[in-house]
Symmetry: C2
């Protein structure tokens, strides 16, 4: 059975949880507490699993993978049903643009490690980069969206969007500026694979944050 | 013919130039000067091409793509020869881990926009994040590398590595700490597709920076 090393509140861990859930793949969760003891991701034990000292990491089929999009694409290529990337290359391109705007253009700039380095101005910094990314995503999604980010089929773009909106809400970004993103998130968050994997109901979610 | 909107010194633009060159695809370059006039990527005209206001962007087959890895994967899926991703899913996973460590874990934290916001400490900031990423890449590549990043076949991992080493050198990162990365870079930089696309010899390279 695959093992996911993750943390309830890590948006990149949540991406992988959603992918497993959509595919109906059972997996074991091992919690890596990013706060406790100065951060369990910094131990030598975890560094051997992921030299980047970040979650998520996954052991599957005898190998260890890190980086959430690399993990999800490995799952997609080895367990193709239901698919998380459309068949058409142009649509696949659209999915990947949305994934990469989030995974390269937003999330890395507002993750825990970076905000710890920013210090006192961290909320303003996070808001700035989430706003900048969402200002780009909003007109793109307005063009590509149907029921979901790309037409009416759930894809990796949706898997990236929902955890990023969760982060935006944590940092009190004004979501009324982004009606398409907000509408997509509201639809997706009601789907079982997104709901059951939400940070508020994971094995390592502290009692006071449980839904 | 595809059009690449890029900038000679942008490491993400260079990734796309290498991919086109390896595939033998002719393309037109349109320069978006990231410095001049406060940054040509910020104009309304360019915002219509890429709402993220970043290079690269590519128009190809009647569509416009942004985000370098999304662009390269579109090219890979529509022009499969020579391949830039191995056939084996586990090896593809390894390629993508390396790409994503660079594209999500290093480059976004040391790009022009972020460094402008960091201000006076920008060199130290860039060095810190490049060092952190290379400290993770070095042991991974030590395991996966043959002649190139993953075995003896050039892949997207090599396409991401070389421009990131170029950035490391610009920020005077001590590369002697990373013997595997340095050795791979020295091998790759001699290959035509990497040499001909180097920032020192592009149509928009200023005279004083020409090789």
């Amino acid at each position: 059975m695959p093992v996911l090393y993750g943390y309830f509140r890590s948006s990149c861990s949540w991406r992988v949880r959603i992918a497993f859930a959509l595919k109906g793949i059972e997996y074991e969760q091992k919690s890596v507490n990013l706060i406790k003891d100065g951060g369990q991701q910094l131990t030598d034990q975890f560094k051997a699993i992921n030299p980047m000292q970040q979650v998520p990491a996954v052991t599957i089929d005898g190998i260890t993978l890190s980086q959430s999009l690399a993990i999800i694409q490995y799952i997609e290529e080895t367990r193709p049903e239901p698919r998380l990337l459309p068949a058409d290359p142009k649509q696949r391109g659209q999915v990947r643009i949305i994934c990469d705007i989030i995974a390269s253009g937003i999330q890395p700039l507002q993750n825990l490690y970076v905000l710890q380095k920013i210090g006192a101005d961290k909320v303003q910094w996070a808001q700035h980069f989430i706003n900048r990314g969402f200002e780009a995503l909003e007109p793109i999604l307005k063009q590509t969206a149907g029921k979901y980010c790309i037409g009416d089929e759930i894809s990796m773009a949706d898997i990236c969007l929902v955890p990023q909106v969760y982060n935006a809400e944590r940092f009190k970004v004004d979501m009324s500026q982004f009606p398409t993103i907000r509408r997509l998130n509201q639809t997706l968050i009601e789907i079982d694979a997104f709901k059951a994997t939400h940070p508020s109901c994971q094995p390592d979610t502290p009692d006071d944050l449980q839904a």
